[in-house]
Symmetry: C2
Subunit: 186 residues, 2 copies
DNA sequence: AGCCTTTAGCTAATCGCATTAGCCATCATC
DNA sequence: GATGATGGCTAATGCGATTAGCTAAAGGCT
């Protein structure tokens, strides 16, 4: 194999960094190529298309959030695990809004799409965390969906600049977490 | 004024309908023109650009959701108001996913952008609903943000097909509502 | 060392879509 | 019936994604 300065993975990483800067909607092959110091068509030697690139960013993002959440939950349980996991996710989205947006826009392309296990890993972490609350088995799925909804909703609203009023967003988030925590106990 | 078959408003309405069908990301001037039976450039006699069109759809969407929520809350209070308002919002998003996406993508363009009052009307309805719970004034903003987060999160996840498991999504939503309701009482 | 295959990157060309420029027909009003 | 504003059209521009085909260098092999 000849020189291997760029690989699909390195191109994806550069694209992910770019997308965090300029926003997922503003991703363009031209801009990415410029960043990498190559001409636009050369990108196609590493990724199949812009859609393929976006999909790779999505998988990267899900893998990273999954890792972040799992690491945060490690060794904790109950309220502590919830707080740590939720904060980890919010931090990730704040630092990598473009990647996260890519993750949300993506949809599995087939049954063997690595996107699927990547997203399942995220769900598995949340499930593990929730199990610490000893919920009624029939309610777990609803609790899971509610949890995903709040966290996803908060993160996207914050990333979109949806919280205008000058009240501390950090404070709102810890309030939200304890609100969920208390609800899960009852 | 010559014949007025099309107006900015009617074009926006057609675009909103289109976007609910094909998805906000797939909106194109060409497709809209085809639907209206005119050529693409003619659209520019009614809207300034595709961005302008998207912005108009966003305002329309916010106005409609605002109305829906306000009407649902009318005459109710407490748990009833919460349930009715939340259901109204979810129903709206399910029936008009494209419009709702447009509303989320939009950002005010200036201090006198009609987008601002339209979104404030939505917030005002939620605030009115929350006031029925008699919360501590210092907590209201956090409760508001939490409420927005869950509802927005649930709606977008559902619209994106994020709830895969074959457990009733309707049931999860009512569970979510009563979860929030109970939390707001404590 | 020298050959050969592989392939990253390049230039040139195509295509679709948003947008602009300029022309024409029509309709409302006087 | 003249006239002026305006909706719609065709032609043209430009940009971004994508494809085709060429070139040269790098790694393996003898």
């Amino acid at each position: 194999m000849p020189k291997a300065r760029l690989t699909p993975a390195s191109v994806t990483a550069a694209a992910a960094a770019l997308v965090d800067e300029v926003g997922f909607d503003n991703l363009s092959m031209a801009l990415l190529a410029e960043r990498l110091g190559i001409k636009t068509p050369s990108l196609y030697k590493h990724v199949a298309s812009q859609a393929d690139l976006a999909h790779r960013i999505a998988i990267l993002a899900l893998t990273e959030v999954g890792d972040a959440i799992r690491d945060a939950i490690q060794g904790r349980s109950g309220s502590d695990a919830l707080a740590a996991g939720a904060q980890a996710m919010r931090t990730y989205v704040r630092e990598h809004p473009g990647r996260y947006a890519a993750g949300n826009a993506a949809r599995p392309t087939g049954p063997d799409d690595p996107f699927i296990p990547a997203s399942e890993r995220v769900l598995a972490s949340w499930a593990a965390m929730l199990s610490g609350y000893g919920l009624d088995p029939g309610q777990e799925i609803h609790a899971m969906r509610t949890l995903r909804s709040v966290l996803h909703g908060f993160a996207t609203l914050e990333a979109a600049g949806g919280f205008q009023i000058d009240a501390s967003v950090d404070e709102s988030f810890t309030w939200l977490i304890s609100f969920i925590d208390q609800g899960l106990r009852a």
